[in-house]
């Protein structure tokens, strides 16, 4: 079948099962937008290419399928570098098709030419410059294969205009020929058994669950593992939803703004079992003081994560689902011949440990002033908004966030029960992520409610995608925790720069978020009174045909606690002022 390169690209995208593309056309990608008219794929016209990238990420987060974005050359391409970097950090399968100037013009500083494969080398798993139209199907096949297998990640296919216009034969093969790419799958059983030896002897174990568990769809296996061992666990920012927060064994999120119980349990543990986590500095704090007495089992599909930060006692290089499955099966085999895999002395120690961590959990909850007080008269506490939103949401609701204080409160206080119900920018910490990612999440899961908890600063970076949402009928809901500040930065200046505030004040009233929302075709609400929070949430939840934006005027001076100051040991965790006396007695 003879086609143009552009038609071949569209047909190849259809062939790999793409249902939706987020994009914005321009000169170099024009030929590809023409056959798109006849395609079965849905194209969503964003207002800024960064929006396309984050939307594709949001789509990937909630569906587990690769997100796809299409942009033109030059500025279109550079506008999507941030989402590529974001997806690279958080292992999100993202395929970006970028237009490029004609191959004959490459290297001549042609109009809207940038060396996009060069620029994106450090923020993609791999990238391709297509030079031969006959290679289009093979490259698309490979691009999706690389993006979605092993440790997932973003890829770029740079597509010159003359390649799009050239004539080519289209033929499909499911084969990939990538001699240098062999993602690991099954764990080495010897490593699994060695890991279990440590597990059988652990007296103060903690399971440290990372985003890899979500990526590998390993939550069932994780649940089985916890059921068999009764070990306490923590879920990182990338793993929220991997295990129900309501389970008493779940200690919450570790790290800089993690729960006291999660942080302290890790510090005092004698065995840390890491499933798909990468010992990020926001989790470890000062690395040399991180979990100093713990032996470490590190399960990861990426061999380069092993020993990058902390040298494990037992590395297991495998897909998380397969590795945990192998551990569970082996434990079942061993326990078939005896009552428990643990001897009674170890079990006793583990029970005492469980009691200890549960006590920490009860003694040091996420506290804030006025919590649950009926006579509280102050400004709305941002934490209250998250708690009420969570309470008003069903377990299928998807929560998306921006980056900053609001993100931490959302992660801390939302009660998660299902994987892929949380979409947040972790490794890169990209302000402006929420609105477009929420759009992509809603496109991926149209039957589910999608709430974004966003900051006022973040919202202003990418709010224009609400126009896309209105036009394309993607009814997302945005709760702005409007504290009139770049709050997270302000908190650091408050705590570590003697309250010398430098360039962090925005404004509560400028812009007028309600009018702005309305001008973008959304419904807008404003809430000042803590007593009205729940009724406005209810109103917002009753709107199904339009995007909704709620401007929650929150306490502008509120800080996120607990907090481990940057570079400090996790032992030096600061709890909420109301809990300091209690903590002083504890240690």
């Amino acid at each position: 079948m003879e086609l143009t390169g552009a038609q071949s690209l569209i047909k190849s995208l259809e062939q790999v099962g793409v249902e939706v593309l987020f994009g914005l056309p321009g000169g170099a990608i024009l030929p590809v937008y023409d056959p798109l008219i006849e395609s079965s794929m849905r194209h969503i016209l964003v207002r800024h290419e960064q929006g396309a990238g984050h939307a594709a990420e949001g789509y990937a987060h909630v569906t587990g399928r690769p997100g796809v974005a299409m942009v033109t050359s030059g500025p279109g391409a550079t506008n999507i570098v941030t989402p590529l970097a974001d997806a690279f950090m958080d292992s999100v399968p993202l395929v970006v098709i970028s237009g490029q100037v004609a191959t004959s013009a490459i290297g001549t500083d042609a109009f809207q030419e940038v060396d996009f494969t060069g620029i994106t080398q450090g923020v993609t798993k791999h990238n391709w410059l297509v030079t031969d139209p006959d290679e289009i199907p093979r490259i698309i096949r490979e691009a999706f294969y690389v993006a979605t297998t092993g440790r997932p990640g973003p890829v770029v296919v740079d597509f010159p205009k003359d390649v799009a216009n050239a004539k080519t034969e289209w033929s499909w093969s499911d084969e990939v020929d990538l001699p240098g790419y062999r993602p690991p799958a099954q764990p080495d059983m010897a490593a699994v058994k060695k890991a279990l030896e440590l597990i059988y002897q652990a007296e103060r174990p903690v399971v440290y669950v990372g985003g890899g568990v979500i990526k590998a769809n390993a939550t069932e296996e994780l649940t089985e593992f916890i059921e068999m061992t009764d070990f306490p666990l923590v879920t990182t920012l990338m793993a929220r939803g991997a295990f129900p927060d309501t389970d008493p064994r779940h200690l919450g999120m570790p790290g800089m703004h993690g729960s006291y119980a999660a942080v302290t349990a890790i510090q005092k543990s004698d065995l840390l079992i890491s499933f798909g986590a990468r010992f990020d500095d926001r989790v470890t704090g000062k690395v040399s003081a991180f979990a100093p007495k713990a032996k470490v089992i590190h399960v990861d599909i990426d061999p380069a994560e092993i020993g990058k930060v902390r040298r494990p006692d037992v590395p297991v290089i495998a897909d998380c689902a397969l590795a945990i499955r192998a551990m569970v099966d082996e434990m079942k085999r061993v326990s078939a011949s005896k009552k428990s895999v643990f001897d009674s002395r170890t079990k006793k120690a583990q029970l005492a440990w469980r009691e200890q961590v549960t006590e920490w959990k009860t003694l040091f909850p996420f506290a804030y002033d006025g919590k649950g007080e009926s006579n509280y008269a102050g400004p709305i506490k941002p934490q209250q908004v998250v708690e009420e939103l969570s309470a008003a949401s069903d377990e299928d609701t998807i929560l998306v966030t921006g980056v900053g204080q609001h993100q931490m409160w959302a992660s801390q206080l939302w009660s998660f029960s299902k994987p892929r119900s949380w979409v947040s920018s972790g490794g890169l910490g990209t302000m402006g992520f929420a609105v477009p990612a929420a759009m992509g999440a809603k496109v991926g899961q149209p039957a589910k409610t999608v709430w974004a908890v966003d900051g006022d600063g973040c919202f202003q970076m990418t709010a224009q995608e609400l126009i896309t949402c209105s036009q394309e009928q993607i009814p997302v809901k945005i709760a702005i925790l409007n504290n009139a500040y770049l709050g997270m930065v302000r908190q650091w200046q408050q705590m570590f720069y003697e309250e010398r505030y430098s360039e962090v004040y925005l404004s509560a009233d400028l812009p007028d978020y309600v009018k702005w929302a309305e001008s973008m075709g959304c419904v807008g609400f404003r809430v000042d009174d803590p007593g009205e929070v729940s009724s406005v949430i209810e109103k917002a939840n009753s709107i199904h045909d339009k995007p909704v934006v709620v401007d929650f005027r929150t306490d502008s001076m509120e800080k996120v606690f607990p907090m481990v100051p940057a570079g400090a040991s996790n032992d030096d965790i600061l709890v909420h002022p109301s809990l300091r006396e209690r903590l002083a007695k504890e240690v």
Partner: protein, 186 residues
Amino acid sequence: MSFTGTQEKQLREEEGTELIRPKSSHHLLAIKVENKFGVLSRVAGLFSRRGFNIVSLAVAPTEDERFSRISIVVDAESAPLEQVVSQLNKLINVVEIKQLHPDDAIEAELLLATLKVDKSSLVGIEKTVTKYKAHILEKNDSLITISCAGTPTKLDELENLLQSYEIVALHRTGQIALPKLEFLAK
């Protein structure tokens, strides 16, 4: 270029100089890569991105035209070898990485130098050429170009000696390496 450790040893013995073991403050990596557009930049880019220092780097085609071999000497101080290798392995176009400990490898490098000559310096230069089994490639009344292959240590010595002449240009290729035969057999 054929230059074995035994030959090197013999040469040294003949000359009465002792064999200086290469310092092992470096790692040797032989990286087989797909012969694709931009692959060298991907490999080099990874080193700078991850903060690993390259001492030297040489690229050449292999016996199979689909692949090239990049020989890299990595500064051992700048990064744990294991991290360097596993990060390199993540590059899609990297097919195979062989690590060689300097003690287990035959290392060689090529040096080219153009020197100013006159009657009085020629004798000395020719002596050095013979001693180091170098070659005179070109010569006229005032200039001479020589080449010499050998271990990096040997070339360091030679380069030092040449400093006493007037050097117009001097280039070294960066070292390449193969496992010693005893390790190849395994």
